[in-house]
């Protein structure tokens, strides 16, 4: 029966080839992005626009900021778009990343039930709001996954002088941004969320935006992975991507995103979009 083995080999190989004809090219650019960018739908839009003006094929690798930066440290990514300032500082200080450029921003807000048992609405700062949640022992859902949102949340607990871990009212969902909101909504709980994700989910959850942290914008930056540390990094592609998202064309993609469906930009571009009809 082994005489026919070569024929079988040819069949298997051609199948593999057929399947790979749509991927596995060498012009690939691996982009590390966070769940909030994918869950809002912006990632697909940025990738589509970028691929329209270059020859690169973008392969997004999506996870929390912690996961994305860790993969970048291993040389698995070419360029990252994250929103976790302290982790990014360390990433750059360690020589793993370079050329950090701000791309866009939104705001963190405390979302919670309409009834607002902890009176978060009357708080002046988010750390005061967190203190009220802790004092009233209201349920708080944390991402608990070292994402940018989770890191910000933990630093707010730090500012408020509270250690929430281990408290019965503090629960970690370990899910993406959108899923986390649904869990919080289901439990009539408070949570910290970025304004873009909240806008997308506003009609689908029974939560209200109670307090927005306008003092500390949530800034998404693009960082190139240091090519001197890893042989495989596509440096030229990373530069092209960083240039594109910060260029007027890229900034307009961001400014326009959400206009049609929600009547406002989901993310505010940090630079100028000449054609934007609102805000710029």
């Amino acid at each position: 029966m082994w005489r026919r083995l070569p024929a079988l080999g040819v069949i298997v190989a051609s199948l593999a080839l057929l399947a790979s004809s749509c991927g596995g090219d060498h012009n690939e650019l691996i982009l590390g992005a966070t769940t909030s960018v994918q869950d809002s739908g912006l990632l697909d839009e940025i990738v589509r626009s970028f691929e329209g003006v270059t020859d690169y094929h973008v392969k997004p690798s999506v996870g929390g900021s912690g996961e994305v930066l860790e993969k970048a440290r291993r040389g698995e990514l070419d360029v990252v778009m994250t929103h976790s300032p302290a982790d990014e500082d360390k990433f750059i200080a360690d020589g793993e990343g370079l050329d950090r450029r701000p791309v866009m921003q939104n705001f963190f807000l405390v979302a919670g039930p309409e009834a607002d048992p902890a009176d978060v609405r009357d708080a002046v700062t988010v750390s005061e709001a967190f203190k009220r949640i802790s004092d009233s022992r209201s349920i708080f859902i944390s991402r608990g996954d070292r994402s940018g949102t989770n890191v910000r949340e933990l630093s707010i607990w730090g500012e408020a002088g509270i250690t929430p871990q281990g408290q019965s009212w503090y629960q970690e969902s370990s899910t993406g941004q959108g899923q986390n909101l649904i869990v919080a909504s289901d439990k009539d709980a408070y949570t910290l969320v970025d304004s873009s994700t909240f806008t997308v989910f506003e009609k689908k959850v029974a939560l209200r935006a109670l307090l927005t942290d306008t003092a500390n914008p949530n800034i998404y930056t693009v960082i190139r992975v240091a090519s001197n540390k890893h042989d495989n990094v596509n440096s030229a592609g990373a530069i092209a991507f960083a240039e594109f998202v910060t260029s007027p064309a890229g900034q307009c993609v961001i400014a326009d995103f959400g206009m049609e469906e929600y009547g406002k930009s989901l993310f505010q571009p940090v630079g100028r979009c000449p054609s934007a009809n609102v805000g710029g």
Partner: protein, 232 residues
């Protein structure tokens, strides 16, 4: 419950309005899971023939491994295949991560033990004298194997369907090695996960029904094939 009904009507609307996105992810699912199943069939039948007919030493141990392999956690397979395909990994130079081929590999790894274990059981269930008799009548090993496959076709087709089911319904490893890229590695299952994450439950349910319909359609064809009267 309304959501389920809305999902069904949305599914029908998506199918009949010729929605390009739905056809694209369905095509991707069928292509990668079909390829993975074919690879699993070739490898699985090879392994099963070897274990059942040759009765190599350590067969029970190998069989235990394949039987346990039917419960291989997809997320662990996804992680291992990812690490192998990482740019810094042993197969990194192939640039296969986040491609359809990567998904085919992961799904083939998941489906092969299913096909191998069930096929071995099927072939072992045949009368052992049958093979000796066929060989004594002058059949080559290859002809004997084909004849025995035909004899066990009911169970072998069931093994193939189980392998296909494991492949097409898989999502954890699929997202991990494929990256859920629109237009390339987004399958029906990974599209469902994304819709859920985006809170678009209606579309998620619609895609779920489409996935179920696709599976039902294909399995029905194979079941009809299986139940057909054997050629005389």
């Amino acid at each position: 419950m309304d959501l389920i009904w809305d999902g069904v009507t949305e599914a029908l609307r998506l199918i009949f309005s010729g929605n390009g996105y739905v056809y694209e992810v369905t095509f991707t699912s069928l292509l990668v899971s079909g390829s993975a199943t074919l690879i699993a069939l070739v490898l699985g039948l090879g392994i099963a023939s070897f274990l059942a007919f040759r009765a190599p030493p350590g067969r029970t141990l190998a069989l235990s491994a394949f039987n346990a392999g039917m419960a291989l956690p997809p997320v662990a397979v996804g992680l291992l295949v990812s690490i192998m395909l990482w740019r810094t990994g042993p197969l990194g130079q192939l640039h296969l991560l986040y491609s359809r081929t990567a998904i085919v590999i992961a799904q083939a790894v998941i489906a092969t033990p299913v096909v191998a274990a069930l096929s071995t059981a099927a072939l072992q269930g045949l009368n052992p004298n049958l093979r000796l008799q066929v060989l004594a009548l002058g059949a080559s090993r290859w002809q004997a194997a084909l004849l025995l496959f035909r004899e066990a076709r009911l169970s072998l087709l069931a093994a193939g369907m189980a392998g296909f089911g494991a492949a097409i319904s898989e999502v954890g490893a699929t997202i991990m090695v494929g990256g859920n890229i629109k237009g390339s590695t987004r399958t029906l299952t990974s599209a469902i996960v994304l819709e859920v994450q985006q809170g678009d439950f209606e579309t998620a349910i619609a895609l779920s029904f489409i996935l179920l319909a696709v599976i039902l359609g294909i399995i029905t064809v194979f079941t009809m094939l299986q139940q057909r009267r054997p050629p005389a």
